[in-house]
């Protein structure tokens, strides 16, 4: 019997509520021996799992891809699914579970026929997300959001979903719903109670707008497949690399490493080895959503840039690592890739590529901020837990499967296309000395016009605030929680690698907000997202989290401050990767810029005798 019919590889999101698991499936123990070897045909799980494994050639490398599909198909990865996976891929159940437990979007327990994930970014909090949560729990009768007794629904928080400009936002069984209001919540509750499938819901709820407020060179352009490629491949690879060098393009993912040097690093490797081009669409930094908009509106520019990179490096395979929060974009992106293939700009021996083969596939993440870190991303692509590797070797030397790999942010690839279409010189004519070109800013928080602003590097913070209609900002968080909190009296500073660098997150904190709430939210985020590999970050993040929780209640001791400061420094100095090195920054910056706030949160000396020491 063919199992193929169970799987449409592009059908990622469920059309309706997830089926209630059969009683059998719930009670199954995950030991390999306890089930009959031929489970009842009524259980579709094993058949589906088998068809997914077949789709991926029964390779362990695609374990994560199989898991996220199973999760989105059934709403959980049941013990039965684990058992079937371990049989098909010849690994143990323990190993499968060790991966499930790493990723927030995978769960070994059923999460309800409807799983509501509310975005927990600070900007959603500003927009009243906690009221929304309360109301949802009340209407759906799920105290604390926990799975309802009849398994109909659960409501939980999740890290930023990249919809901050139209929050409060939620993902319901992976479908995005934006601009949640009290009215809409009521309707949602009714639809859920009636177990309506998603095509019975008002379709405009699922529309995610792009909110492009100020387009620039990148966003003003529409690129059709091959438009830049056809020009570039007329000339030599060297001349393209010259253009790239002239452009002084620096990576847009945050670190700002020279893109030309990355290309050179890959080219220096043995030319006979396979090479890979990877696009980092993990966009996990809270408050960033510009990659989502690029993929929604300008994905051909991104694919074009990847193909140009493939051509220049002699790579034949490109992979987009798409965060699970954007699974709703998967089908659309697959169709766009198909268009490129149909037009002869992508695929094996594609007719317009003059003998050169390059294809792109899309891999899904499964809810882990750390998988945006380049080596963790590669681990995740290989089907493992997303734990950063020891560097060196860098991906350019040894990346995906140990092969030389070029890994860049979505926006960086769009810039590559821009450079190919115009010239390195034209690109470098905009910006500052060390930051050339334009930058996409994802503006959210307390402002009138949240959305995407494409502005030249070097723009002052005050200017961005003026454009987005933020009149009375207390501070701005630039570059997300791992970036910098710029207080009001420093708004004249410039956004550029030489002053305030950014990966694209620009969150406005209004004058009525509590910075302690903001820092608590960020510290909580890091504690939730630490991969747990190294001691300083795994334990340090948790310590900071416990501390900010008390800071919020204004129950800290003055003598603890020195201890927290030195813990923060320890994390900066000895953490394994960028997450641990930045996790303490929000708190350290708060302590430095707003000592008065901290002082006021200390337990007054008069009360000290009554307060037991928290240890």
């Amino acid at each position: 019997m063919s199992v193929k019919r169970f799987l449409d590889p592009d059908q990622i999101l469920p059309a309706g509520p997830w089926a209630l698991p059969a009683a059998k499936e719930r009670t199954v123990k995950s030991t390999g021996t306890q089930l009959p070897s031929h489970p009842s045909k009524k259980l579709t799980t094993p058949l589906y799992v088998k068809s997914v494994c077949q789709h991926y050639g029964f390779s362990k490398l695609f374990l994560l891809q199989a898991l996220i599909r199973i999760q989105l198909r059934f709403g959980w990865v049941s013990p039965l699914a684990v058992r079937e996976l371990s049989c098909q891929l010849k690994i143990t159940g323990g190993e499968v579970r060790s991966i499930i437990d790493f990723y927030s979007f995978l769960s070994a327990e059923f999460q309800g026929q409807y799983q509501i994930l509310l975005s927990n970014n600070i900007t959603d909090t500003f927009l009243g997300q906690s009221d929304i949560f309360q109301q949802l729990c009340y209407l759906l009768k799920t105290p604390d959001g926990a799975l309802r007794e009849d398994s109909l629904v659960s409501v939980t928080m999740t890290s930023c979903t990249g919809l901050c400009d139209q929050g409060p936002a939620a993902l319901i069984n992976g479908h995005p719903i934006v601009n949640l209001t009290s009215e809409r919540i009521k309707q949602i509750a009714i639809l859920i109670e009636s177990r309506a499938s998603f095509n019975q819901w008002p379709q405009d709820w699922f529309l995610v707008s792009d909110n492009i407020r100020e387009p620039g060179a990148l966003l003003d352009r529409t690129v059709s497949p091959g438009q830049a490629l056809s020009q570039v491949i007329k000339h030599s690879k060297e001349s393209f690399l010259d253009e790239l060098q002239t452009s002084s393009l620096r990576g847009r993912g945050g670190a700002g490493f020279s893109t030309f040097l990355k290309f050179s690093g890959v080219i220096q490797q043995n030319s006979k080895r396979s090479k890979y081009v990877i696009c980092n669409a993990d966009e996990g930094e809270p408050g960033t959503f510009k990659d989502r908009v690029l993929l929604q509106r300008h994905c051909q520019q991104v694919f074009e840039g990847m193909t140009i990179a493939g051509w220049a490096l002699g790579a034949h395979k490109g992979i987009v690592y798409l965060r699970a929060e954007y699974a709703w974009l998967f089908k659309f992106l697959q169709d766009q890739l198909q268009t490129r293939r149909a037009q002869g700009w992508l695929g094996h021996n594609a007719k317009n590529l003059a003998g050169f083969s390059f294809d792109i596939s899309i891999h899904l993440g499964a809810g882990a901020y750390i998988c945006g870190e380049e080596t963790a991303l590669i681990e995740s692509l290989e089907g493992k837990r997303g734990v950063p590797r020891i560097r060196p070797p860098f991906p350019a030397q040894s990346g995906y499967l140990g092969f030389p790999t070029l890994l860049n942010n979505v926006e960086s690839f769009a810039c590559i296309t821009e450079i190919a279409l115009t010239s390195g010189q034209k690109f470098a004519a905009i910006g500052t000395e060390h930051s050339k070109g334009t930058k996409l800013h994802s503006v959210s928080g307390d402002c009138k016009y949240p959305g995407i602003y494409e502005l030249p590097w070097g723009v002052s913070i005050a200017e961005v605030l003026e454009r987005c209609g933020a009149e009375d900002a207390l501070a701005v968080q630039i570059g997300g929680p791992s970036g910098a909190c710029i207080p009001r009296d420093h708004f004249d500073r410039c956004i550029a690698f030489e002053d305030v660098p950014t990966g694209g997150s620009f969150m406005v904190i209004g004058h009525s907000r509590s910075l302690i709430d903001v820092v608590t939210n960020f510290t909580d985020f890091f504690a939730h997202e630490s991969c747990g590999f190294c001691t300083p970050c795994r334990v340090g993040c948790k310590q900071l989290d416990l501390f900010t929780a008390r800071l919020k209640q204004r129950r800290i001791h003055a003598h603890e401050l020195a201890k927290i400061k030195s813990l923060g420094e320890l994390m900066i100095n000895s953490s394994h990767c960028g997450l641990g090195k930045t996790a303490a920054l929000p708190l350290l910056q708060l302590m430095e810029s707003y000592p008065k706030l901290i002082e006021d949160s200390c337990i007054p000396a008069t009360e000290l005798l009554l307060e037991p020491e928290c240890h």
Binding site: G93, A527, G532, T535, N573, S575
Partner: protein, 270 residues
């Protein structure tokens, strides 16, 4: 390049290295002790505990995973590093549930020994008291995850033995040592007492049954000597048979075999 140019200094002392060696490897060969927990000379570096942090040019590097580079000036012994390593050790202590007085490994435990060596007096940080279950499903081996420091040594040892019995699972504060059997229990895995993976645990997380307190407290490896001078390897038992009574008979003389003071390895090669 001549061999003599491959030199680094550690606290001012010149140390030679082979190209490709890590700072830790070069130091071990030159009998310089750098504290470490997740490093073991027989396995590839993990770089997770960070107790081995050294300073090079004002930067902090994990010496077990950082390659030695000609001319590097490494600082290993200074107050700054001692404080940092002590803090990391304290973080490891609050991360698990370490009740040393009731732990079989006490006195032979590297975490405890490093705590002594760094003059750690208290836990300093907030105790996290994780809830983790003991796995007593195996007849010869016990896994007490309360004491696991996630060093990954059992994982690597088992990989090298071709058995792949362990993996680290979960994320962040919820990371745990996962046993690769279908039930996730040791008893359903193919582990045996003779596996390196069963013997390598630097703390008291993987214990062999029937060995409890065989060497009395007070006579253990770190009871009278610092880890800085005796190194790592506690006495290894020869488990050629899993018959416990047999083993007990043999163990008497076995554990008193001499240890190479600088590398911490057994001089008898077993």
């Amino acid at each position: 390049m001549t061999q003599s140019s491959n030199k680094i200094t550690i606290d001012g002392r010149a140390v030679c290295f082979q190209p490709g060696q890590t700072i830790m490897e070069a130091a071990t060969e030159a009998s310089v002790y750098i504290p470490h927990l997740c490093h073991h000379p027989d396995y590839p570096p993990h770089g997770s505990c960070k107790v081995c942090t050294v300073k090079v040019d004002g930067r902090y590097l994990a010496s077990c995973s950082e390659k030695a580079v000609d001319g590097m000036e490494v600082q290993n012994n200074c107050k700054d590093l001692k404080d940092l390593r002590r803090s990391i050790t304290q973080l490891l202590f609050v991360d698990g549930n370490h009740y040393c007085p009731s732990c079989e490994r006490s006195g032979n435990c590297q975490l405890q020994a490093i705590g002594y060596a760094l003059e750690m007096q208290e836990n300093h940080y907030t105790q996290l008291f994780p809830t983790r279950k003991v796995d007593a499903s195996h007849p010869d081996i016990i896994l007490d995850p309360d004491r696991c420091i996630l060093c990954g040594l059992c994982v690597r040892a088992s990989e090298a033995e071709g058995k792949n019995l362990f993996k680290i699972g979960g994320r962040g504060q919820n990371s745990y040592l996962s046993v690769c059997s279908d039930s996730g229990l040791l008893g359903d895995s193919s582990i045996s007492v003779n596996d390196k993976a069963a013997q390598i645990c630097p703390v008291g997380a993987i214990l062999i049954r029937g060995e409890g307190f065989h060497i009395p407290i007070g006579e253990r490896l770190y009871d009278h000597q610092q880890i800085t001078s005796v190194g790592n390897c506690r006495p290894r038992y020869n488990h050629s048979t899993s018959n416990l009574t047999e083993r007990k008979k043999r163990e008497g003389p076995e554990h008193s075999k001499p240890i190479n003071l600088t590398t911490g390895k057994h001089t008898n090669g077993k």
